[in-house]
Symmetry: D3
Subunit: 281 residues, 6 copies
């Protein structure tokens, strides 16, 4: 490709750069984009580019598979109820170790290869995520938290100079830590920060209808219909429901993206060629 | 081209975006890039992109051909001495009209198609360029000014919110306006602002040696040699000499670019494929 | 006069200095005060004094006679419809040259004899004056703009350190420049800046009634009556109508002054001896 | 006088307003200017005008005659040694009452007739004047303080919004108050604030030579000569000596003025017709 | 006592330090706490500790006994009407001297033994207390002021770096000074500053009921009842009535304390063992 | 104990509160103070009190015993060389989990029982601790880092609103994490922040001489002597050597405290009764 052709492509990004300048974008990071080293590196690049062209990206992550792996290694068996990991005291310990100690800092380091850019924290820091024990109709979830309030002070302090990377753990009024669903964390932070955009990186093409066809857009009504028909998977459910919550709390644009696609985030932000499903009110 | 290929090209720009983030770049605008509507539009795009990815571009322009045209229309004949326009009182009036009243605002409007971004001024505003009458060994130049001091306050005030576009006129201590060579203005502003980069857009490929070969780099010594041999054209001389001045006053990188190339500025900033001559100490 | 007498006179100004401290005053500059060198110098002095005693003066100017002169020199004939100059593409070019390139910077230089105080701009800079083509019942006005919106950011940026001097040109959404009536510009800026006072410097004693007697005050009703009787001249009409507009948009005090009087502005601001007509709601 | 003549006189002040804009001027207030109600009102007007045209006046006062009067009323007899009041514990009490409680607030009220402008304090507030007991070769002075250090924080806090009025009392490291010579206070504050000007208002025309002729200027050498000849009065001595101290600590202009002249301060600041003696190095 | 026991006691203060962090506390200082040197020193210590642990104390004082003493010394006889000192012109002079000149600065010095902490002012400074002549049904009070408006600018300027100490004097629109009841001053300042707490230091245990029993709490209704029964003393009346005013203007907590108790203020702020009466709505 | 006695004890703390107001204190937390729940709670209280009375505490922690326990549980055997844990890739993973994921957040939660006060991070965040692989004469240490540079930006950002709690991990230029000795981290941060005090909480009474007597003070020379005699334990060595480093980089006061004593920190800060050894140059 000639330099001129390259310049023209760069120029194509200009309208998108203008549109998102100064905006806050919360990205739920997970799935293949986190596990595949090449995709992970591409993700870090995308986030850094977003920061450099004037956006304020906030990264939220969980780490289900890694937690399950460590639980298994300790002889435990992961149990899920309604898409939520039933979290014993021992599982919680593992979750804190894996999410806060390892995955969080690995993401920070990946981004910081580009400079002093990222800082990791969990919902326990600065009481960022105040939670209470989550009740579930299908059984006791153990140490799974439901978000009651977000204290965004620590995020806004860090956003001046850093890209915050947030592990999906919360704390209750007594200082007890809880495991929190990362999709719910992303939605709550997007709402509390008044984010302009919320993006979920997933391991699927997007949301599909009963016939398995990709939906480029989905609203609350259609969600109800698909849920009633049992079409939405238990892994996708927290994403869609928290997405609808985020929209209610004022986030103008929420998208479920295929994180298996190289530079999915970049394509979503800088082109009109989205690669997933847009969730609307 | 597939979206992924586009994303990859965008990603190639990241190292350059990082390198120039927060930097001030003075661009001497002129020649074909100013006269050819498509090139002019490309130039405006390039400047806007630079601003959006975190640079502080400052545009400096003259407008020799347009001034000559208007002088001719009024029955005058442009006269040049040592590359400088001999400027009668009437010519000065024409220069102020054409540079400050028309060209300056045309550039502002071209950039402002992208939003409220540019603001035009001349070296007369806020006493930006304090000059005295220039002495020249080859004859009286009339109202041609030599820069004595830069008062950058008005530029720094505007740079917070705007891209400044500066017409190459100056003022002396008595309030008398003078025509100033735009290359010299660009170099003086780059020095006074502590700019990270100074770029001259020209109508040639770059600086050539006696054999007509493009030089990708040239230093003070080589300049002396080429001058002695009469190889450097009178139009190129102020560029090279002011470039050497800018380097002396601390500007770390000065380049003479071929403005006839589409997106020359973009290529120079965002790729390693420069399309001109780098001037060094 | 003895020093003590001088001191007493200075002291007489104190109540006015207190009253206007920190206030923004928009001055429409034109007529004899602009053409007579002694009056012009006096005007610059007045503006500088206003700035030094704590006011924020903003100067707005047109330049009808100078534009007409240049149009005539190019073989054109100025045509006016309803007090507006019918502006061909060529006339617009002349207006930009004369207003933005020469008159604007001459005013700046006149003020800057007192220090680095003034900075010139036109309504094209920073999209200060967004206009559309003006419709007129009596015929096509050509490139005459009607103000739709004021973007005062560039003025407020400059007001921190400078006295802004604004040429009466505007720009539409496509970047096309238009000639704008300077009285309307002054009124629109006064409204947008929340100015405390708007002053028009004219070539008449003030507004006169049908019998030719100077009115020291005039309201909307009386204006209608005089208009109906054809007593108000076409040159005075834009002043009075824009004055009424300014009052509607909240400017508390609007005055039409005789600019042929030496230091008319100073007398208006610093004494109770006004030399013109106050316009009221 | 016609309005135009008044305007011209106002305009004559412009160069002085420009020169002193933003400058700090310490004024030692006392003598007839303090005792004569008309002069006192004129003094307040002068100070207010100075503030409104952009200066930062600081007023320092003593109140010897009023203190003597109260001491006498209590049956005491004022005693002076080398121009300093010998201050018993009872005299100190009187000085604090009269200076801090009455005179200070009277000056504040006089100025505040023009608005919320002045705030009074003594050298005891915020440890503004840290002093030690003054030693004198001619005898024990009692509670007379010699300034050791100025803590200007309280003055700079107040100068943002107020005209500080300072009573000439100081405090030592143990919290003991002392009477301090007001001329010395004025000089010390001028030095500590980096003032541009220090003015003493006195009851004499200025400093005179042995033949009783007014000196328009006097330097250190001439002071020594006059002192040796016993020509300088004991009341003038602290003024001249502290004036020389102020000059040493960098105050560029120090003047001894005849406070019996109406608007002496205004004439000194806003005209070239000074009415006293300029002290130089 | 062992170090550990001391540490534990320090730790007991933590909840109170947390509760009052950043809060503004107005303290009406007077009575034994002002007259007994040991109590006065303890008071200064308490105020300094409050400032260091993050509160903003404001001290208000009168000085009735000292004023009476000086009035008597001058041959006058203090007269009181309804708890207010009938203030002749001579008495006012004495009040200004004693309150503003001596007591105010004594308190400042006492606090400043701990560093550069306090700054004194009276309600005359910066027009802090704008008053009018107080009308009283039981007779003419002379120069006794009723507070009309508080201009808190000077207090907020000083609070950044200092503990303000305010003498209970006010000024009317003509610059005439008035004596003001210090309890009323404290209440008015607490209201104007949005204080979190108002404390009166008195010479009694607190407010007592008809049987002479200490009330730990009292409301408006009970006040009316006690007043009707003539149980409340004339000295306590201004305290209680201004306390009720302060509560109406939003001060959440008002307490009448026994200033004869060592460290009464400290006990009130840092423990639950109050030593007086809390006034409620 | 009576309230008055309590008040007196509180007052005894005032000189210490004054002395340390606004100062930064780095506390190396560990040993019994971390493992004993009552001591841990007391530690949190001490830190919170320090913050509330105006200090900026920074907590640094390791967690050797907890890491060893987890390593053992995974079947590994902790190996130490020269006081440093030989850290295999697996051990490093454990250290990151235990230090960053669990201990760090436990400390944060303990402090946050008092409010939203603490925020945890590791040396990996914001590239706080840039390290390289540590060389040791006695053998390969594996992933043990030696601090090369501190980037304090993230700490200074957090210190505005939070108490930072730092886990002793660092990162090299390639993004590889390393285990770092927590004593060295505390000393490096104290130096980089210009801390006023550095405190090590240990499990011993302090530093002892060859005869086992507690030294209340020790200097570099004495350290050399004790080292030569083999008197200093391998666990104490990094403390003493990093303490000497901190002193060299300008930390004025460094103390080794007995963390087994209740409120050891409080006693050290707020009384003269230190409970350990002060290290001097």
């Amino acid at each position: 490709m000639t330099p001129i052709e390259k310049a023209r492509i760069l120029m194509e990004a200009l309208p998108y750069i203008k549109r998102y300048h100064g905006s806050t974008v919360v990205v739920k990071y997970g799935g293949a984009a986190m596990e595949d080293p090449a995709l992970a590196e591409g993700f870090a690049n995308d986030i850094v580019l977003m920061r450099y062209v004037g956006m304020n990206p906030v990264v939220v992550h969980g780490g289900g598979p890694q937690v399950s792996e460590e639980v298994a290694r300790r002889g435990g068996t992961p149990v899920f109820v309604g898409g939520y990991r039933v979290t014993t005291a021992g599982d919680l310990e593992v979750a804190r170790m894996v999410l806060g100690g390892v995955i969080n800092k690995d993401i920070v380091s990946l981004i910081n290869r580009h400079g002093t850019l990222a800082a990791g924290l969990s919902g326990e820091d600065g009481n960022l995520l105040l939670v209470r024990r989550k009740e579930h109709p299908d059984g006791d979830l153990g140490f799974v938290g439901e978000i009651e309030r977000v204290n965004p002070a620590i995020l806004t302090d860090l956003l001046r100079d850093f890209i915050p990377v947030v592990a999906s753990l919360g704390v209750d009024a007594n200082g007890q830590t809880y495991n929190v669903n990362a999709d719910e964390v992303a939605a709550a932070l997007a709402g509390a920060l008044g984010a302009d955009k919320l993006v979920y990186l997933t391991n699927v093409e997007g949301i599909q209808d009963a016939a398995g066809r990709l939906l480029t857009q989905i609203g609350a009504e259609k969600v109800s219909e698909l849920k009633a028909n049992g079409v939405i998977s238990s892994g996708m459910l927290p994403k869609i429901e928290s997405a609808l919550e985020a929209i209610k709390s004022g986030v103008p644009k929420v998208t479920v993206l295929d994180g298996r696609t190289e530079h999915a985030l970049l394509l979503e932000i800088f082109t009109d060629q989205g690669v997933g499903t847009m969730v609307t009110a």
